[in-house]
Symmetry: C2
Subunit: 155 residues, 2 copies
DNA sequence: TAAACTCGACAACGTGGTTGTCGAAACCGT
DNA sequence: ACGGTTTCGACAACCACGTTGTCGAGTTTA
């Protein structure tokens, strides 16, 4: 046995560092492209709102948080000009939450930037190794962990 | 070209899901072993305190947060019985922050559990693929991202 | 139609972060 | 040795993000 296994605690650190590297670079690039105020949490929330909009209660369900928390997040998104609330003509209780053109733009840019970042990893690792990394992760990650309810789960 | 590349946004999601899976399982197991109240943030902080202790200001520097924030975290760790403050005999300004035996135990258990979890991934992926996953991540992650200052960076 | 449910808003609170201020103690240069 | 600078920890005020509980209004259903 030539080398010992690395200690187990290194694995989560590497995964987190990889995630963090991508997200930090995404937001640095988003800032350069006219979206300096959007934070990682906002990106997750806007992704969950989607191009066609939702309601606050539904957004909460998608993000795995209470409707109140979702409502507060929408407040901040609205204050930044990324989302807006409009009355639902079919149900007077509801307010539809929709992304503004600015919100849509930030999602579009994010998708492009993520593609670029992945291309950089291909340059560094080779397409095969990156594809294998992705397929390995898909194999060990249960489908339930694939949710977009990242925020606040830490504390 | 048989298959197209996966979209770039999948990569951070996979990394995060992997990280989250490990952390969630760690804390589920920690809870079973007598540490139900410790949260991911606390684990990072205790890791930064280390077996020999520190001061609040130094802890803040290690975690990349203000000394005030570090002090508050210590307050909560102390309330949970994982850390304590003792006067520094050599410098009357300082209070040494030390882990209690309970705090040390949670770190020891965490290391064991992480080793077990890594072993499970070896079962699922094979030692070679996991080793390659780790080395790939080491290659793309800059050393600066390897810090333990996870908390709060999201919002 | 009456009961039950759902929506969004509001309030109070916990936790983790920030800045600013402050007094006490330590360090350092003259 | 003494006075200025730095460092430490504490306190206060504030923001972001989450929680539960309550509530009135509107919709659905039995």
């Amino acid at each position: 046995m030539p080398d010992a296994d690395p200690p187990g605690f290194e694995l989560p650190l590497l995964l987190f560092a990889g995630f963090r590297t991508l997200i930090d670079r995404l937001h640095a690039e988003l800032a350069r492209r006219g979206h300096p105020d959007v934070r990682p949490v906002h990106g997750f929330a806007m992704q969950a709102i989607g191009a066609h909009g939702t309601t606050a209660a539904d957004l909460g369900r998608r993000l795995g948080v209470s409707k109140q928390a979702a409502g507060k997040t929408v407040d901040r998104l609205a204050a930044l000009g990324y989302a807006e609330r409009v009355d639902d003509p079919g149900d007077a209780r509801r307010k539809l939450i929709r992304l503004t053109p600015r919100g849509i733009d930030s999602l579009t840019q994010s998708a492009r930037i993520f593609d670029q970042l992945r291309a950089e990893w291909v340059d560094q690792l080779g397409a095969d190794r990156l594809a294998q990394l992705e397929s390995s992760l898909r194999a060990v990650v249960p489908a339930t962990a694939f949710r977009v309810d990242a925020p606040g789960w830490f504390g």
